[in-house]
């Protein structure tokens, strides 16, 4: 007789609606509409020593991926807004992990996931009109993620960590391969320290790095000469205080650091080094036993490094021309406020 393991099923979904407005003179545009929705099923099986975790997550394209004309400008910098883009294709990611415990307070889960990412359309530039009124079909390729996660209780600390490897397939535009992201390494460490019954401190750090991309060459895709990807570091500290059983308040400081400047002359693409700091209050309120409301506000500052040193003007005769150079774009500073509200309801 085979004992059927105990199973726990969890279904989750999230969606959103965005009001986005770009008000730079001459580039005014807005997008008001839904963003893509996501749904997932997580099944946790229980056996004596192993806990298999089966997951399926999907992206349902309820948002718009084609933003013609100036509307394309409403896609915004991911360091200035939380929702930078509004639509992609139908994607599905099955995943499998197996949890085991070397000791009572040290848990390990190796896991693997594969994202099949479906095609979607994107606006394109029409040279004859000089407008972004055409369409491309983008096949973004698939992503394999293999990782190992561990959680341990060390004294009063709870420490969690994950390390992973990602591999992506080629990206096609209208059936033609236009690139392939380099293999990636990712890591995240999170720690919780309970200072007292009511005060906790959360620490979180992430790192990501991708190898050299493949880019279009004269004979198909070729590996770029210099890696156009950077190291990206994200760090955060968040002390919280349980004001009541239902209300938790706190303060968050986060930073993001991208370490490298790169100018890809083939793609005319400039990827600037950048630092972002963000500080602000956070709040979680338990509305009902199955519902939580989260509010957060932050003030942020972004400093973007100078661009490549390019020749801006060359005037002269013979072997001694006057050459003017400048870093383009120059160092840029951004600052702003970010306010977010989210509700979580468990059925």
């Amino acid at each position: 007789m085979v004992e059927w393991p105990e199973a726990k099923w969890e279904v989750a979904a999230k969606t959103g609606y965005v009001w986005s407005s770009h008000r730079t003179p001459g580039q005014e545009a807005s997008y008001n509409g839904p963003v893509d929705s996501q749904a997932s099923l997580l099944v946790t099986l229980g056996t004596s020593y192993l806990r298999p975790v089966l997951g399926v997550a999907v992206n349902i394209p309820t948002g718009e991926s084609v933003l013609s004309g100036k509307r394309r400008l409403t896609r915004m910098d991911p360091d200035l807004v939380e929702l930078g883009t509004y639509g992609e294709g139908f994607n599905i990611t099955p995943s499998l992990g197996v949890t085991f415990a070397p000791t009572a307070n040290f848990i390990v889960t190796p896991s693997i996931g594969y994202s099949w990412r479906g095609e979607f359309d994107r606006e394109s530039f029409v040279p004859a009109t000089g407008l972004f009124t055409g369409r491309h079909t983008i096949d973004p390729g698939d992503v394999l993620t293999a990782s190992i996660s561990a959680t341990a209780r060390v004294g009063k600390w709870i420490v969690q960590g994950s390390a992973g490897y990602t591999a992506e397939s080629e990206v096609h535009q209208d059936g033609v391969a236009i690139g392939k992201k380099g293999d990636g390494a990712i890591a995240n460490v999170a720690a919780l320290y309970p200072v007292s019954d009511k005060v906790n401190v959360l620490l979180n750090g992430s790192w990501g790095y991708f190898g050299k991309n493949d880019i279009p060459g004269s004979t198909g895709l070729v590996t770029e000469l210099r890696n156009s990807n950077s190291h990206v570091f994200i760090g955060a500290i968040q002390p919280t205080y349980d004001l009541t059983d239902k209300l938790k308040i706190g303060f968050n400081y986060s930073f993001l650091y991208r370490n490298n400047n790169y100018y890809d002359i083939f793609q005319e693409l400039y990827v600037p080094a950048r630092v972002k700091h963000s500080v602000g209050p956070v709040m979680d309120y338990v509305i009902a036993p199955n519902a939580t409301l989260s509010l957060a506000a932050s003030r942020f500052w972004v400093v973007q490094d100078t661009g490549p040193n390019l020749v801006t003007q060359e005037i002269g005769v013979g072997s001694n021309p006057v050459v003017n150079r400048a870093n383009l774009p120059p160092e840029l500073h951004f600052s702003g406020w970010s306010i977010s509200a989210s509700a979580k309801v468990q059925f």
Partner: protein, 119 residues
């Protein structure tokens, strides 16, 4: 050999007896035979599912996240102008070259660069 087999059987019986007397674990058993902390088991199982499915969309996976707002973990892979179509500075070099045939009135060549923020 018989003594050894008897000893092993006795040990196995003792282990079964001890196991039978222990309360069942709320979660899995650790490899050392103790009961694993159920909260840690749940946290880590969910974390592994989040990491494995994070690339489902720009917004990650509804299973959860492993980062903190306002700079989420998902930010690590949002720098993809082809897939996500996000703004990246594009520097366009436009060169204008004027040849001078030696009359001394004009430059040999000029080159200008313009920078535009396009997508």
């Amino acid at each position: 050999m018989t003594k050894l087999l008897t000893l092993l059987l006795a040990s196995a019986a003792l282990c079964n007896s001890v196991s039978a007397q222990q309360a069942p674990c709320k979660s899995i058993k650790a490899l050392d035979g103790t009961c694993a902390d159920p909260a840690l088991v749940d946290i880590n199982s969910r974390r592994s599912a989040v990491i494995s499915s994070a690339r489902t969309s720009y917004n990650g996976s509804p299973i959860g996240t492993v980062g903190l707002k306002p700079i989420p973990y998902e930010r690590l892979y949002r720098d993809d102008p082809v897939v996500y179509g996000l703004p990246t500075y594009t520097t366009t070099i436009t060169a204008t070259i004027t040849f001078d045939f030696g009359d001394g009135k004009g430059p040999v060549s000029t080159q200008s660069t313009s920078t535009t923020r396009t997508k």
